[in-house]
């Protein structure tokens, strides 16, 4: 995980994409923050990301969050068909000795849940933006996405949060 973060921050400095998908790339140099922040996503102040594609939004926790939480050993997720509210908790991750709520950045209906996480919760650490996705939601108020942070804002937010502590 440390090697991956070093590689991603180096790639950021060289403006090289860290991911296989051309549509997702590291936004910019992160000289002080060693977590990856991807372009094309929106971010919540509670460190969840949203990727809106068509009628579905995919949600997970950010690289910054997984790094601060430590090794994830258990993931509690809702059932498909339920609903989420913006800012409300929809599940939890267990890492080390702690359970930590995961909050939804947007409101909507849960259409799919990542079942791989029950067997392999560590995907959240190794691939927070791809294989470690948590739920897919049909947004009920797409305008909620506009109030979320973009990559630059979120990176600055992380840096300020870390600097303040």
């Amino acid at each position: 995980m440390a090697l991956r973060m070093w590689a991603s921050s180096t790639a950021n400095a060289l403006r090289i994409s860290c991911t296989a998908k051309a549509s997702l790339s590291p936004a910019f140099s992160l000289s002080r923050c060693f977590s990856t922040v991807l372009d094309g996503l929106k971010y919540a102040s509670s460190h969840e990301w949203v990727k809106h594609e068509g009628s579905v939004a995919t949600i997970g926790i950010t690289d910054h969050a997984q790094d601060h939480l430590g090794e994830v050993v258990f993931v509690e997720l809702p059932e498909p068909g339920g609903s989420v509210s913006k800012g409300g908790s929809f599940g939890a991750v267990e890492s080390v000795k702690a359970t930590s709520d995961v909050n939804s950045p947007i409101s909507g209906e849960i259409v799919e849940v990542n079942s791989k996480l029950s067997e392999t919760p560590g995907l959240i650490n190794s691939s927070p933006y791809e294989d470690g996705w948590m739920i897919k939601v049909k947004p009920s108020s797409p305008s909620e996405l506009e109030s979320l942070m973009g990559p630059k804002e979120y990176t600055k937010f992380c840096e300020e949060e870390d600097a303040a502590h």
Partner: protein
């Protein structure tokens, strides 16, 4: 309160202190989760022993992996799955509990993540145990030297967190037989069995001294307000949806090894 201590407490965040003696651990956990999710104040809950020996697992605990289920069922030991993370303990009248439930902004410089909260707790307990044993935080445990006497667990929401500790003031060695050796153990445990790994806090200080010292340490960071446990400010909402549960006999029986598994074990 003296003028000096009054002046010192001005500007410090308020910490409500609720004390119990021998309260059932299930009730303590119910209260803690309700305070975490429905209160906006800071709380310190102290329970001096619990009345019935009870096994308490973390949120993801599986009885088949963690417990000697046949013995647990035979001896009718209650088993609770708590709302926080972490490992499995068996608690009784010799266990002292101290829990902090805080707004994330109440403790400056502490981000609401496991390691910063754990580190903050160790600075508080450094004060409690100053001059006693060789106290420190080792991985996620409180130790004297290299022997564990306090285990920790946490639950973190968007704006608040719980850090709770069970302290082994005393324990019954025979109760440990209900627990299997967990798959995840701290590195510093090495290959030590239970008797070599843990120690009893009573060999270092009395229960009263520990509680007094803890309250004094809390008072250096917070303005302390004792609250009666029956007070209306302590929530007792029967409609609150608790995550902590007491496992049923059926759930425990389902965790027993099957006939064929038992035969395979016996063959070896």
């Amino acid at each position: 309160m003296s003028t000096i201590s009054q002046a010192r407490s001005i500007g410090l965040p308020l910490m409500n202190i609720v004390r119990f003696k021998g309260a059932p651990i299930l009730h303590q956990l119910y209260l803690e989760e309700q305070l975490l999710r429905t209160s906006s104040e800071n709380w310190c809950v102290i329970n001096d022993g619990t009345n019935i020996p009870t096994i308490v697992m973390g949120i993801s605990g599986k009885p088949s992996e963690l417990l000697e289920v046949r013995s647990v069922l035979q001896d009718q030991v209650p088993v609770v799955r708590r709302f926080s993370g972490g490992g499995t303990v068996i608690v009784d009248h010799g266990t002292l509990f101290v829990t902090f439930i805080c707004n994330k902004n109440a403790v400056p410089g502490v981000q609401p993540y496991p390691q910063p909260i754990m580190s903050w707790s160790s600075t508080l307990y450094n004060e409690v145990f100053q001059g006693i044993g060789h106290f420190h935080l080792r991985e996620n445990d409180y130790v004297f030297g290299n022997r564990k006497f306090g285990g920790n667990a946490q639950s973190i929401t968007k704006n608040r967190w719980v850090h709770h500790t069970s302290f082994l003031w005393d324990y019954e060695a025979r109760n440990m037989a209900y627990l299997k050796l967990p798959m995840r153990t701290p590195k510093y445990r090495l290959a030590r069995d239970h008797e070599e790994f843990v120690c009893r806090m009573k060999d270092f200080l009395s229960r009263e001294a520990f509680i007094d010292r803890t309250l004094k340490a809390v008072g250096t960071q917070f303005s302390v307000r004792p609250i009666q446990s029956e007070a209306s400010s302590v929530p007792h909402d029967a409609t609150f949806q608790h995550s902590t549960t007491m496992l049923t006999k059926q759930e425990l029986e389902a965790a027993l090894p099957s006939q064929s598994e038992t035969y395979e074990l016996q063959r070896f």
